[in-house]
Symmetry: C2
Subunit: 96 residues, 2 copies
């Protein structure tokens, strides 16, 4: 498949993916700090009220950006489940 239009679009997708990976790396740096703070202060890893607010905000942002709000919610759940896994590891004393 060497369609030139497909090649051009794939180059843009690769650029967007590079940006996405970098932003995710920054996001996990911060959530790691959040995890350490929560563990130090004895706060629970998950926070349902915060997650509810985040979902509402991201669904609204998705609508404004012409992205499926259902997908935005699935995306946040996907990220948050990874974050909670990290926080639980931190709470258990793991250094990773």
């Amino acid at each position: 498949m060497s369609d030139p239009e497909l090649t051009r679009m794939r180059a843009s997708i690769d650029n967007l993916d590079t940006a996405l990976i970098c932003l995710l790396a920054e996001r996990f740096k911060i959530t790691k700090e959040v995890g350490l703070l929560k563990a130090a202060k004895g706060m629970p890893p998950a926070d349902l009220e915060r997650e509810t607010q985040q979902i509402a905000r991201l669904r609204q942002l998705a609508e404004q950006s012409n992205l499926d709000p259902e997908f935005a919610e699935k995306f946040l759940n996907f990220i948050v489940s990874e974050v909670v896994r990290h926080h639980e590891r931190i709470a258990q004393g793991g250094a990773r």
Copy 2:
């Protein structure tokens, strides 16, 4: 939970999430075009060779950004499964 440090970190997470949602919206705009092109030219929705290249590239990028390469691969699979779902809908004649 009104810890000022937590509030500050959460504001950064929200900013990163805004950027992530906007980039994802752009990415799906392009993959929608890819889907239309593939349907018009009778190409299959999924492309295993391309996906293998993407996974290798994103794992390497993740390592450079200090992000878990396993997570980067899970992230790409999560996005690609949504994209393939869109492409199958396009191939079936759905306009969504």
